[in-house]
Symmetry: C2
Subunit: 149 residues, 2 copies
Amino acid sequence: MYSMQAIGYVRSPYREPKDVPKGLGAKHEAEGALEILPEYAAGLADIEGFSHLYVLWLFDRAQGFELTASPPSDNRTHGVFATRSPRRPNAIGLTVVELLGREGSRLRVRGIDMLEGTPILDIKPYLSSIPAEKLRRGWLADAEERRGS
Amino acid sequence: MYSMQAIGYVRSPYREPKDVPKGLGAKHEAEGALEILPEYAAGLADIEGFSHLYVLWLFDRAQGFELTASPPSDNRTHGVFATRSPRRPNAIGLTVVELLGREGSRLRVRGIDMLEGTPILDIKPYLSSIPAEKLRRGWLADAEERRGS
């Protein structure tokens, strides 16, 4: 057992899970902020040089977990580790955001898909990408094909 | 405070931090495995359709944290959230691996940069990339330029 604690909180336009765009073709263009607690603010030095960040956060409103999940983008169930379901054994979320600006310990970002008040666990610089042509996307690609999207 | 527990462990060729390639131009081509505990194995259903996975894991041999870090790729210090330092407020590591194959609850992967026995917290499918031409990489790009690499 390992204990984690919030280093800050997400400011998001989404108040409830139903507000967050989901399913095939959902775009995450929402703007919001990452408000880092004053005691961790020194950890943000030089972060403004990066265009994109990984945000690790807590699905704090998810209850328990299940080993299979039915994602909104498919009508079939899949193993939870092959999905982004909130109901996971360790309820950690991962989002890539674009960094728009920084004012002190507040990072303005685009690409928010978390709820208002979500606890932030960590921020890391996004350093490199797997080229799109090297990616296989399993059931998600199949679901897109079936829907003709 | 939130409690996390291992869903499995990394099998890695690296026994000690000094064994892991670090610094500018370090390549992570090492092969290893993610061994998921039997009670979570059902969560792997359909994962073999994905070429790449995010692995969230615990820096279980890091002691405490500091808000600034001196990465091996630079001779300057930066805020910990602008680095991949193990000594972070929540000691979570994030690695993108290529999935080579699955035998039951064991995933063979390439791109290991964790130590042997590292606790795994979560696995997620890697669904999309930020195009390389859209990335700015802050101090890392500066350090590469200064070293002419």
